[in-house]
């Protein structure tokens, strides 16, 4: 038992560890909650499957008219749709439930309560709520990825799988950072509810390989709205087309993006004048 005078964390590492333990609690609580709403679980699964099917329709039609597009075969694009489904499924599970609450946090004064807690407020606002049912979309994404890989005769080695996982992870972090930045605009714009709609429709570009777009759009989708790291680069890594430079670039970009979002959050907090008191 620690006394009240003792500091909560003695060093930086303990502070991070405390956040990890806290997040595990959030997750455990979300799982318990999900067991109470089994119909929600089932509908999320069904809707996810239908949307996955519909998302593949344009790709299937496209490859009915041609064998390959800029070096991508149908099987490779299907593998890419699988990766897309995995990454967007993870975002829908861990990030989306929080981003959709951002407006109410800021305009209803709920942020006041968060700021009083002995926890990083940005951590809390970005990762507090978890929608476990969306993990079914991650599972279906894995199935589609495996189907795509088998059909395309790709047999990635351990190094390539590692590259792909790191790149997809960077994509996940980058896309989360972009959505966070868009949501934190609520500090200045009051209502950002609809920004999630724009974000989700732009993420759709990740269903297709980067080379399907004109050069200017490719740059945009790599550096400004980095869906390229979430889908195109991991699949190219699995195909053995990449060395470690893009991986290093992805990690560097992820660090820069997280730092920028952190700064934006700090800047936003300065302008925040409680809505409840």
């Amino acid at each position: 038992m620690s006394t009240l005078t003792e500091p909560l964390d003695r060093n930086w590492l303990q502070k991070q560890w405390r956040h990890v333990r806290l997040w595990r609690r959030f997750f455990a609580q979300a799982v318990v909650r999900e067991t109470h709403y089994r119909a929600h679980f089932l509908t999320t699964l069904l809707v996810g499957l239908v949307q996955l099917g519909l998302g593949i329709v344009p790709t299937l039609l496209l490859f009915g008219f041609t064998q390959d597009v800029h070096g991508w075969s149908r099987a490779e694009v299907i593998a890419l749709v699988g990766v897309y489904q995995i990454v967007t499924g993870l975002i829908a599970t861990f990030v989306a439930p929080n981003m959709n609450r951002m407006t109410s946090y800021l305009t209803e004064g709920e942020l006041d309560v968060v700021l009083l807690r002995p926890v990083s407020s940005q951590f809390y606002l970005t990762l507090r709520w978890i929608n476990v049912a969306e993990l079914t979309n991650v599972a279906s994404g894995i199935v589609v990825l495996v189907i795509g890989l088998v059909q395309s005769d790709l047999a990635p080695g351990v190094g390539q799988v590692l590259q792909a996982v790191v790149l997809a992870g960077c994509g996940l972090v980058l896309l989360t950072a972009v959505w966070s930045a868009m949501s934190f605009l609520a500090f200045w714009l009051q209502s950002v509810g609809p920004i999630g709609v724009v974000y989700l429709s732009m993420v759709e570009a990740g269903r297709y390989p980067l080379v399907f777009f004109p050069v200017a759009v490719r740059t945009f989708l790599t550096f400004a709205f980095p869906v390229a790291f979430a889908t195109t680069f991991p699949v190219r890594a699995l195909a053995g087309d990449l060395n470690w430079w893009p991986v290093a670039l992805g990690v560097a970009l992820a660090v820069v993006a997280m730092t920028l979002v952190r700064l934006l959050w700090r800047r936003g907090l300065l302008t925040y004048s409680s809505a409840s008191s």
Binding site: L61, S201, Y208, F213, V217
Partner: protein, 270 residues
């Protein structure tokens, strides 16, 4: 005063009131319209790449470009979003207060639909204009005002058709507790069969007969085809005839279902 003119006057007044109210959210309309043209632009770029890469499509680059540039406008102009709201009003008993008023509850939804579309136009038309200008070299621009007039007529008919389908789905709330799943199913089915995801011209040949004659084609694809495609005078006449036929048939069914629903309605919270 006849019922029709009175209803029209009510719609006009309520639309004006809704516009005044909804213009508070003008920032949100701009953002929504931005999202509205995202998907068509992504699709446009993808299919142009496929064409440039040598894909043998049944349509040419001008068709694809014109189709996707106009798509965002037509989906907005013919859209309806009231099914869930109307079903709620029925389920929660808000319909009761309208039954003693001299106008139908549906009038409120007509006014809401018209006012939001009016405001969205201001956000959407400049965006479509910019995309049009970027791709101006490969756009189909039909000669003569006739096609544009038909385009306008077809959009109005398409809008009525979608609105009627929404009434039909929402009216099931008179007998069912939750129509949420049906609303969602309609959205998903319509997104493919209306041509909002992929132009119907690109659908495989074995599906032709069904795809060309099902009602959802006349909610989005057909109006766009009038401008983008090479429909002959005969095709146009037949298309408009079928569209009008669907509007009339569904409107009659909706009217019957609505009337039956009102008789079955037992107010909640009265």
């Amino acid at each position: 005063m006849s019922t029709l003119t009175r209803n029209l006057r009510v719609v006009r007044r309520m639309t004006a009131a809704e516009i005044a109210q909804q213009s508070v959210y003008r920032g949100a309309w701009i953002i929504f319209m931005l999202a509205n043209i995202c998907m068509p632009i992504i699709s446009l770029l993808i299919w142009r790449t496929a064409l440039a890469n040598g894909a043998q499509l049944p349509v040419d680059e001008r068709y694809i470009t014109t189709y996707f540039v106009l798509l965002g406008f037509v989906t907005m102009a013919t859209s309806s979003w009231m099914a869930a709201f109307l079903a709620n009003d029925i389920r929660l008993g808000k319909l009761s207060s309208w039954m003693v008023r001299p106008a139908s509850l549906l009038v409120k939804f007509v006014a809401n639909n018209l006012s939001e579309k009016f405001l969205k136009l201001f956000a959407l038309v400049p965006m479509i204009g910019i995309v049009w200008w970027i791709f101006r070299d490969s756009m189909n621009i039909p000669a003569g005002a006739g096609r544009w007039a038909l385009f306008a007529v077809s959009i109005v008919l398409g809008a009525i058709l979608v609105f009627t389908i929404d009434i039909l789905i929402a009216a099931l709330a008179f007998w069912m507790d939750d129509v949420g799943a049906l609303v969602q199913a309609r959205v998903i089915i319509a997104s493919v069969l209306s041509g909002a995801v992929v132009p119907l011209a690109l659908m495989p040949s074995w599906s032709r007969g069904f795809v060309d004659h099902q009602p959802f084609r006349y909610t989005v694809s057909f109006p766009v085809e009038i401008v983008a495609g090479q429909l002959t005078g005969r095709d146009l006449l037949a298309g408009l005839g079928i569209q009008l036929g669907y509007v009339v048939v569904l409107a009659v069914i909706a009217r019957l279902v609505w009337a039956a629903g009102l008789r079955a309605y037992s107010a909640v919270g009265a």
